[in-house]
C-alpha cells in the first residue's frame, strides 16, 4: 500500500514537472548535453590560457555558447514581454540593433569615421543609443497599443527601413574605433578571463528578475495578454502596458546592439544581427510560451536562447556542411517547437499519467 502511495507521489511530481513550462528547454538542453557527452566528452573541456595580448582568457565550447548567446538571451527578455502583452512579436529587433549600434559609433566618432580619440565617453554613447532605441520601441509600441495594428505589421516598418536608417546615421560610412577600451565590452576586460558579454547578460537577467519580483509588471502584462478587457475592468490600462513592453524591448535592443558593436569595434549595417529576430522569437517559443500572449515564463525563454546557441555551436563542432546546416537546424527546431507547444504538452502529460495509473493499477492487482 505504502509502495503504491510512494509511486503515486512520484508520478505526481513527474507529471507536474512535465506540465511545468521550464521542462521543455531543460529537456532540450539535457538532450544536447547528453548527445555531446556521448559523441565527444572533450566538448565540455574548458581551457585557461593567454590571448595574443597576454591576458588570461577562458576558452572552450561552453564559453563560446555562453558568450555568443548573450545578445539573444537579452533580446529574449524583451521579446517575452512583448509577446505576453500584445500577443504578437517584434520582428524589427535585428534592424533596431543596427540602428542602436550605429548610434553608439556615431556618438563616439563624430564626423570622422576613423577617430584617433573617441569624441565622447562610452557611457554617453551607450545612454544616447538607449534613448534612441527606446524611442523606436515607443514608435512600435504606439502603433501596436494605440492604433491597434498587428505587431508583426507594425514592426515590419522598422524591419524594412531600419538598416537603411542605420547607414544614414553614419553617412554610409563604416566607422572603426581603435581605442581598445571600447572593445573590452564585447571581448575581455584585461585580467578577467570570462568574456564581458556574459556579465552583461547576467546583469540584465538579475535586473528583470528583480523587476518581475518587486513590481506588478509581470502580473499586469499577463493580465493584459490573457484578456485586455477584463484587465481594463480591473483598473489596468492595457494600452499603456503594451506600450511599456515595447519600450523595454527597445532597451534590450540597445544593450544587445552595444555588445554587437563592441565585439569588433565596428559595424556592418546589412549583416549585423541578421535574422536575430527569428531566433529571439524561437527562444520564446522554445520556452513553451504561447505566442498568442498571456502567461509567460521568463526563465524558460532565456534558457531557450541558450538552447539555440548550444545547437548552433554543436552543429559547428560536428562540421555539418554549409548547405545542410539550415536543414539540420530546422529539423531540431521543428521537433522542439512541437513538443513545447502547450497543447502537445498537455496531451503528453495526460498520456503519461494514463500509462502510469494503469501500471500502478496492474501492480496493485
Amino acid at each position: 500500500m505504502k509502495e503504491i502511495a510512494n509511486k503515486k507521489s512520484g508520478l505526481k511530481t513527474a507529471t507536474q514537472l512535465m506540465r511545468k513550462q521550464i521542462f521543455i528547454p531543460i529537456a532540450a538542453l539535457l538532450i544536447l548535453v547528453l548527445f555531446n557527452l556521448i559523441a565527444d566528452p572533450s566538448f565540455f573541456q574548458i581551457n585557461y590560457a593567454k590571448n595574443s595580448a597576454g591576458d588570461p582568457v577562458l576558452s572552450g565550447y561552453l564559453i563560446t555558447i555562453l558568450d555568443n548567446a548573450s545578445e539573444l538571451a537579452i533580446l529574449a527578455i524583451g521579446m517575452t514581454l512583448v509577446t505576453a502583452a500584445s500577443g504578437g512579436q517584434d520582428i524589427s529587433v535585428g534592424a533596431a540593433i543596427a540602428i542602436s549600434g550605429s548610434v553608439v559609433l556615431r556618438v563616439l566618432c563624430g564626423d570622422n569615421p576613423r577617430p584617433e580619440e573617441m569624441q565622447a565617453s562610452i557611457l554617453t554613447a551607450f545612454l544616447v543609443s538607449c534613448l534612441v532605441s527606446m524611442l523606436f520601441g515607443a514608435f512600435n509600441g504606439t502603433l501596436v497599443a494605440y492604433f491597434n495594428i498587428q505587431p508583426m505589421i507594425a514592426t515590419l516598418i522598422l524591419y524594412t527601413a531600419g538598416r537603411s536608417i542605420a547607414a544614414w546615421i553614419n553617412n554610409n560610412r563604416l566607422p572603426i574605433i581603435s581605442d581598445p577600451v571600447f572593445g573590452y565590452f564585447g571581448t575581455f576586460i584585461p585580467g578577467i578571463p570570462i568574456p564581458t558579454p556574459i556579465f552583461i547578460a547576467a546583469a540584465c537577467m538579475i535586473i528583470i528578475a528583480l523587476v518581475l519580483k518587486f513590481t506588478t509588471l509581470g502580473l499586469y502584462t499577463q493580465a493584459v495578454g490573457i484578456n485586455p478587457n477584463s484587465a481594463k475592468l480591473n483598473g489596468i490600462n492595457p494600452q499603456l502596458i503594451k506600450f511599456i513592453t515595447y519600450v523595454i524591448m527597445g532597451l534590450c535592443v540597445a544593450v544587445a546592439g552595444f555588445i554587437k558593436v563592441t565585439r569588433f569595434s565596428t559595424i556592418n549595417y546589412s549583416v549585423v544581427a541578421a535574422d536575430i529576430e527569428m531566433d529571439a522569437i524561437l527562444a520564446v517559443a522554445l520556452g513553451g510560451n504561447a505566442l498568442s500572449g498571456g502567461r509567460f515564463s521568463m526563465v524558460s525563454s532565456i534558457l531557450g536562447a541558450y538552447v539555440i546557441q548550444f545547437l548552433t555551436t554543436t552543429l559547428f563542432k560536428f562540421n555539418v556542411s554549409s548547405s545542410a546546416l539550415p536543414a539540420y537546424k530546422a529539423i531540431v527546431v521543428i521537433v522542439l517547437v512541437i513538443i513545447s507547444a502547450p497543447t502537445v504538452r498537455e496531451k503528453l502529460s495526460k498520456f503519461w499519467k494514463r500509462i502510469q495509473t494503469s501500471r500502478i493499477r496492474k501492480e496493485a492487482a
Binding site: 573541456q45 576558452s59 563604416l174 571581448t187 478587457n229 549595417y269
Partner: protein, 335 residues
C-alpha cells in the same frame, strides 16, 4: 467600450489618410523629378542609371560614388539615378526611363530574370543598354555590353597565390559567403578544384558564415577548441577574415607575415589593406567596384559609331600580397 472602439477606428482612418497623403506627395516629387529631367537637354548625353541600394555594402557604396563622379555635367552627361534592391521596382524604373527617352540605360540588376520585355522596349526606342556589375538572363542582342567581375578568376588568382607560397601541407579553414551568391560560387570553385587535385591540400572545415564576422569567429573558434591543426584561413570576404582573426587572437595563434596561419580575404576594404600593410594578414583579392570608366569609354565610342568588340567585358582585378603592398595601393584600391 463601443465608443472606444469607434474612436480607435477613426484614429486608424486618420492614420491611413495621412499615410496616403504622404505617399501621394512622395510620388509627385518623384514624377516631378523625372519630368524635369526630360525637359533639360543641352547637348548632354542622357543616361538613366539603375543600381542597387548603396547601403548594401562597402562595395556598393564605392560603386555608386564612382558612377556619380563619372556621370556629371562636366563630363557631358545628364544622369538620373534610381536605387532599389527589388527587381520589379528596377524594371518599372527602366520603363520610366525609356518613356523619358534617355540615350543610354545602365543597369545593375537586382535579379537575373524578367528583363526581356523591358530591354526589347529599350531596343525598339533606340536606347542602348549597358549592364554593369551583374548579368541578366536575356538574349545577348538586347544589350550592347556587360561589364562584370569575373568571380571565378578572383578565386583562381587567390588560390594560385596560395599555391605559390610553397607550404608542405595546406590545412585550410574555408569560410564561405551566402551560399549561391556569385561571389561565393566563384571564390569557392577555385579552391574546391585545387583541394580535389592535390593530396597535400585539405579542408579542415568548409562552412558558411553568410558574410558575418561573428559567425566566422565562431567557426574558427570551434576548430581551435577541437584542437584540429590548420595553417590557412580562406575567408570569402574581409569581414569574415576579421572574425577569424579575432578567434586566433583570443587563442594566441600567430597569423600574417611570418605567422603560423595565412590569412586571406576579399573585397579590398581599406581597413583590410591596412591589415595587410601591417603584416597581420597575407592576401586580399580585389572585387573591382569601379566600372564607370569602362562604361564611359563604351559610350564615347558608341557616340562615334564604334560598337564594342566584345559583349562581356571583365574588369581588371588584382590580388594584393602583404609582402608587396604599398601605402599608395591602400589609398588607391581601398574602398
Amino acid at each position: 467600450m463601443a465608443s472606444e472602439k469607434n474612436k480607435g477606428e477613426v484614429k486608424m482612418k486618420k492614420l491611413l489618410l495621412s499615410l496616403l497623403v504622404m505617399l501621394l506627395a512622395v510620388t509627385t516629387v518623384f514624377a516631378g523629378g523625372a519630368a524635369e529631367a526630360a525637359e533639360e537637354d543641352g547637348g548632354l548625353i542622357r543616361v538613366g542609371i539603375i543600381n542597387n541600394d548603396p547601403n548594401e555594402s562597402g562595395y556598393r557604396t564605392a560603386n555608386d560614388n564612382d558612377m556619380k563622379a563619372m556621370f556629371t555635367e562636366e563630363n557631358g552627361y545628364d544622369a538620373s539615378f534610381f536605387y532599389s534592391l527589388r527587381n520589379d521596382e528596377q524594371i518599372a524604373a527602366a520603363q520610366n526611363f525609356i518613356q523619358n527617352e534617355v540615350d543610354y540605360l545602365l543597369i545593375s540588376a537586382a535579379g537575373t530574370a524578367g528583363w526581356d520585355s523591358v530591354l526589347q522596349d529599350a531596343q525598339n526606342a533606340g536606347i542602348y543598354v549597358i549592364l554593369f556589375d551583374r548579368t541578366i538572363d536575356a538574349d545577348e542582342s538586347l544589350y550592347v555590353a556587360s561589364i562584370v567581375s569575373d568571380m571565378a578568376l578572383e578565386g583562381e588568382t587567390a588560390v594560385n597565390w596560395l599555391a605559390s607560397q610553397g607550404l608542405d601541407e595546406y590545412n585550410i579553414i574555408h569560410i564561405q559567403g551566402v551560399m549561391g551568391s556569385a561571389a561565393q560560387i566563384g571564390r569557392t570553385g577555385a579552391l574546391d578544384e585545387m583541394v580535389a587535385a592535390n593530396d597535400n591540400w585539405n579542408l579542415v572545415t568548409q562552412q558558411t558564415a553568410e558574410w558575418n564576422a561573428e559567425t566566422a569567429q565562431q567557426i574558427v573558434q570551434s576548430v581551435i577548441d577541437a584542437g584540429t591543426p590548420f595553417n590557412v584561413i580562406y575567408a570569402e570576404n574581409d569581414d569574415m577574415a576579421r572574425g577569424a582573426v579575432a578567434a586566433l587572437d583570443r587563442a594566441n595563434i600567430s597569423h600574417g607575415v611570418d605567422g603560423d596561419v595565412i590569412i586571406m580575404g576579399f573585397d579590398t576594404n581599406k581597413w583590410a589593406l591596412e591589415e595587410l600593410l601591417a603584416g597581420r594578414w597575407n592576401y586580399d583579392g580585389q572585387c573591382n567596384p569601379f566600372q564607370a570608366a569602362y562604361i564611359d569609354e563604351i559610350i564615347k565610342n558608341l557616340e562615334q559609331g564604334i560598337q564594342p568588340t566584345e559583349k562581356v567585358i571583365y574588369l581588371e582585378e588584382r590580388g594584393f600580397d602583404a609582402a608587396t603592398i604599398t601605402a599608395e595601393d591602400v589609398e588607391k584600391y581601398g574602398i
